[in-house]
Symmetry: C2
Subunit: 541 residues, 2 copies
C-alpha cells in the first residue's frame, strides 16, 4: 500500500524545456491520450488511452511482466528469482479492506480554504515560521511541498526576500533567518496565521477533516446477499489474499514473489497533472515474500533492480533518482521505503514519485491472518534442515523455520509510466516540420517503423505492401501511402516511430530501400532482405 | 451491447464426459482460478486468476489483440482491414449510460419464488401448456430454457411422460400432445398455474420486477463535483464515445474498427457455472464502422472471421456452432445477431453463448449524437469522388456520402474464453498418474515446455539451467528439478504443457535430450541445439 502519490511542486520549469501543455496537446492530436467522455464534457480524473497510447501502455506492461514474471532478474546466487503472476478481482470481500486498514485508515485529512474553495491534504500543508535576525519579528508562510525539496525551496524564497530588501535598502536589514516548519494538523500551529497556499488569504484554512479515498459500490441482487463493496485502491491486497492459495498450489519456496498488473481506483480530491494523478489508473505491483531476517538484503536487491528496469525503458539516468523516505513519512508498519523519482516537466527542477519500494514487514499477512482466522504462517523446510545441520537447538529451529514472511513491495503505476515515457520522449526541434519528435526507445515505441512507397504507383505500393505483410507478424509496422514523403516523416516523428523504410524507384531494380532514422534524420540504404534483421537488432538491442 | 449472456440448461451431460466439478477442482489445485477473497469466505460472482490462469488469459488476450488490431484479417479486397486499439476508462460520464439506454433499459425483469427464494429472469421463464389429445385436460409446466433447445427439451419431456404411461397401461392413453409456450410476463399467462422452475411449487412465482444490472458508485470529492457513476457493463460504449476522437486524429477511413479489451461489471442476479457468468469479467469487443449499405456484407465477413479465430485456439469444430437470433430475441435496434456457441459441460448436449456478432445499425452513434449534441456523422470523401465519377446526381451524392456509420460488433468474453479453453483441454485419462491431462493448443498453453534434469546431479542441472535461460526469453518454459520424472510429467500434464525436455546421462555425451509429447506420451530424442527451432515450429504451427 504505497501512500497516495505525491509531487513536489517547484518553480516553473525553464520555458525552453518541455511544456506539459504541449505534451497534452500532442497526446490528443496523435491519439495517445484522450479525456474520458469528452463528447459529454469529460469527467474529472478519468482518461482514455487512444490507439498509440494503448500500444505504448501495452509495451510497458509486457516489458514489466516479462522482466518480473516470465524472465525475472538473477538473484544473489546467480539463479533467476521466482515470481508468479496473478490477476485478482477489483471487487473483493469488504473484510479485505478492514484488515488492510483501508476502511479505517485510507483517508487523508483534508483542509478546505473558505475563500478560494481549494482543498489540500492537511498533512501536506505546513506553516513556515521565519524569524528574521537583525530586524523585527516573525513571518508566517505556507507550503504544500513534501520531502527534500521543501526546505531548499523555502530557503530560495527567503533568499529572494532578502535580496529584494537588499536592493531597496542596502546594506540588508535581515542578515540571517531561522526557518521552522509547523504541520497544519499540529494543535500548536496557529492556523489563523497560516495563509492558504493557493490564494494566500491568511486565516482562511478550515479545520482538517478525514476523507476516504475508496470508491464504494454495492453487490448482490438477492435480499440477504447485498453488501457494500469497494473498488480496490491498490492491486497489492489481492496478492496478500492469495498468498495461501499460491503457497498451497504452486510449489513456490521462500523467497518468492507474486506480481500483478491491473486497474485501481482512488477518489482523489485533486486529480491533476494530466495522467499523473487520476482516479482510475493502472498499477504494476509485486509482493516479494521472504524470511524476516533476509528482508533488508532483498529490499536492497529490489531497489536496484527496479532502477535498472526504469533505465531499460530508455529513460535518461539524470531524470531518475532515489529518495529515501524520512522516518516520519513512513507508515507505522513500514520499516523502510524508497521512491524512484522522475523529473517531470511539472516538478522540474524537482522530482516527483514514480515508484515506491517498501519494506512492509509482516504487517499485511498478520492483519489478514487476524481478520480471516486463516493461518498465514510459512513453514520453511529448507531452513529447518539447514539449521539442523548447523546443530542449532530445537527451540531456535522452531522459532526460525516457522514465520510470517516479510514483504518487500515494488509498486509502480503503469499509467504513470506512460506519462514518464511521453515526457521523456517529447523533444522540441524547431528544425522539423512537426516542431518536435517523440524519442521513444525502439522497444517501447508504439510504432516501430513506417513503411512508405515513395509514390503510390510504378510497382512501389506492391513492394511496400509485401514488406508490410511480412513484418507485421513480428513488429509494430505501419503502412502509409498518402501525401508527400516529408509529411509522412513528420507524422512518424510525432508518433515516435524510430525508423521509416521508403521504397523508391531503385528498390525495384536493386532490392534496397532507404532507412530514415528518427533521431538523426540520417538516411541509409539497406537490402530488402535485411530489414527484418535490422529491426530485430534495434528492438532487442 | 450484447444482452446478458444466456445458457441453455439441458439434461445433465453423460457422466462419462467432462465434469464441471472436476474442472473447477483442477483449476483450484493447479492455480488456474481461485475463488476471490477465499480466506474471507469468498464473494459471490467474483474470481481470481492464479499463475496458470493468468498466463492462459494473457495468451488468449494477446492472440485476439494480434489478430484483431496488430495483424487483422484480410478484407474482401485482399488487403488487411483497418482496426485500431483503444483502452477507455471503466468509469465514464454517466450521460454515457443514459444515451446507451443502460440507465433506463439495462435491467431485466426478475421474478422471485416465494417458496424457495430462487430468482429468475422473468423473460426466461415460460409456462408450457401441454394439451393431451385422446385423454382429459391440460398440464402446465415451466422452463427457463431459451432458444432452440427449449422446444426439443420439452418434446423429450413429453415423450418420456408418454412412454411412462405407455409402460403402465398399454396401449397409451395419450396418443398425441400439443405444446404451447407462454411467457411469464404475458398478462394472459395464468401465473398461478406455473410451477417454480426450481422447486416446482405451483403458484409460488411472484410479480416480475425490474432490476438494473449496473454497479453504481460516486465520484468527486469536492462539493458540487460529486456525481453518481456506473461501472461499465460493457466496453463497447467507451469505443462509441471515442469514435469522433479516432476519426479526427488517426486518419482512419471507412470502413474501420476500434477494438478494446477490458473489465466490465454486471450485478448478475445469479452468477453461476464457475467463471461463465461472473459479476466482474473481461471482454474483447470490436466495433466495426461502415457505410450503411455495406453493413450486411461486413456482418457476414466478421461472422466467419470470428469463427475462424475461435478455431485457431484449438477448439474442436464440433464443439462450436452458430446460432442466429430469432427476430423476437433481437434488441429493437439490432438488425441481425448471431451467437458463436460452445458446447459447455453444463449445457451439453446443448450449447451456450460464447460470442455475439451483432449488426447494430446506427443506433449507438445516433443516440450519442442526440445526447451529446456532437455531430457524429462521417463524411466519406472517397465515396463522394466515386459517385461523382459515376455521374450520380448531386442530391444522391450528398445523401450517400455523409452518413452515420453502421456498426458490426463482434463481442466476446475473455474470461469466458478462458473457461472454454479449460473445458476443451480437460481430458480424462485413467491411464495416467494424474488421471487426466490438459490438452491446450501449444500456442495457448500457460507453460509451453517443462525442462527437467533426470537427476539433480552429475552436471544435468547445469545443462538444464542453461537451456532454460536460453529458452525463457522466447518461450514459456519452466525448470523443474524436484521428485521423480513420473511425478514431474504428471504435474506438466495437469498444467497442460505440451512438451517436456529431459536432460539425462546421454545428454552430456551426445548433446541430445528427450522430448516427451503430452498427448501421446511418446518420446523422441532431439539435439540440444534443435530445441529452440522445435518449439518455434510447434508454437507457431
Amino acid at each position: 500500500m504505497p501512500d497516495a502519490p505525491t509531487t513536489s511542486p517547484t518553480p516553473a520549469a525553464d520555458p525552453a524545456s518541455k511544456s506539459m501543455d504541449d505534451i497534452v496537446a500532442l497526446c490528443k492530436r496523435r491519439g495517445f491520450v484522450y479525456p474520458a467522455s469528452e463528447i459529454y464534457g469529460g469527467i474529472n480524473g478519468f482518461w482514455d488511452y487512444g490507439p498509440l497510447g494503448t500500444a505504448l501502455k501495452n509495451n510497458i506492461r509486457d516489458h514489466w511482466w516479462r522482466r518480473t514474471v516470465e524472465a525475472p532478474p538473477l538473484g544473489p546466487d546467480g539463479n533467476p528469482v521466482e515470481v508468479v503472476g496473478l490477476d485478482s478481482a477489483i471487487i473483493q470481500n469488504p473484510k479485505t479492506w478492514e484488515a488492510s486498514g483501508h476502511v479505517g485508515g485510507f483517508s487523508d485529512p483534508r483542509v478546505d480554504c473558505k475563500e478560494c474553495k481549494s482543498r489540500f491534504r492537511a498533512d501536506h500543508v505546513r506553516g513556515i515560521r521565519v524569524t528574521f535576525t537583525g530586524a523585527e519579528g516573525v513571518f508566517w508562510s505556507s507550503t504544500t511541498n513534501t520531502g527534500m525539496d521543501a526546505e531548499a525551496d523555502t530557503q530560495r524564497f527567503i533568499d529572494r526576500l532578502i535580496d529584494k530588501k537588499a536592493e531597496k535598502e542596502r546594506p540588508p536589514v535581515f542578515t540571517s533567518t531561522r526557518v521552522t516548519f509547523h504541520p497544519l494538523d499540529d494543535p500548536a500551529t496557529p492556523r489563523a496565521e497560516i495563509p492558504c497556499p493557493a490564494c494566500k488569504t491568511r486565516g482562511s484554512l478550515m479545520e482538517p477533516r478525514q476523507f476516504n479515498l475508496m470508491f464504494e459500490s454495492e453487490t448482490g441482487a438477492v435480499s440477504g446477499e447485498t453488501m457494500k463493496v469497494y473498488l480496490r485502491p491498490e492491486t497489492a491486497q489481492g496478492i496478500f489474499l492469495n498468498f495461501k492459495n499460491v503457497v498451497d498450489t504452486m510449489r513456490v519456496k521462500m523467497p518468492f514473489g507474486i506480481a500483478q498488473i491491473g486497474k485501481s481506483f482512488r477518489n482523489e480530491v485533486t486529480p491533476r497533472n494530466f495522467i499523473f494523478r487520476s482516479r482510475e489508473f493502472e498499477q504494476m505491483e509485486m509482493e516479494w515474500f521472504c524470511a524476516p531476517d533476509e528482508a533488508p538484503q532483498w529490499y536492497d536487491f529490489w531497489k536496484h533492480e527496479r532502477m535498472k528496469w526504469w533505465e531499460s525503458l530508455g529513460i535518461d539516468k539524470s531524470s531518475l533518482r532515489f529518495r529515501d523516505h524520512d522516518h516520519d513519512e513512513l507508515a507505522h508498519y513500514s520499516k523502510m521505503c524508497v521512491d524512484v523519482e522522475y523529473q517531470y516537466p511539472f516538478t522540474a527542477p524537482g522530482f516527483g514519485e514514480l515508484e515506491g519500494i517498501a519494506h512492509r514487514g509482516d504487517f499485511d499477512l498478520t492483519q489478514h491472518q487476524q481478520h480471516s482466522g486463516q493461518k498465514l504462517e510459512y513453514f520453511d523446510q529448507e531452513r529447518q534442515v539447514a539449521l539442523q545441520n548447523q546443530g542449532v537447538d530445537k527451540e531456535e529451529i522452531r522459532a526460525r523455520s516457522r514465520y510470517i514472511p516479510n514483504v518487500i513491495e515494488p509498486a509502480s503505476g503503469l499509467t504513470r509510466a506512460v506519462l514518464v515515457l511521453l515526457c521523456e520522449a517529447y523533444t522540441p526541434d524547431a528544425s522539423r516540420p512537426s516542431g518536435m519528435y517523440m524519442k521513444f526507445h525502439p522497444r517501447m515505441a508504439p510504432i516501430t517503423a513506417g513503411i512508405f512507397p515513395l509514390v503510390n504507383k510504378d510497382g512501389m505500393p506492391e513492394v511496400a505492401q509485401n514488406l508490410y505483410m511480412n513484418l507485421r507478424e513480428k513488429f509494430a509496422v505501419q503502412l502509409d501511402v498518402k501525401q508527400n514523403i516529408g509529411k509522412r516523416y513528420a507524422r512518424m516523428d510525432e508518433a515516435g516511430a524510430p525508423f521509416c523504410f521508403t521504397i523508391d524507384g531503385n528498390t525495384l531494380s536493386d532490392q534496397t530501400l532507404t532507412v530514415r532514422h528518427r533521431d538523426t534524420q540520417a538516411q541509409e540504404r539497406i537490402g530488402l532482405d535485411h530489414v527484418e534483421r535490422f529491426l530485430a537488432e534495434h528492438v532487442e538491442g
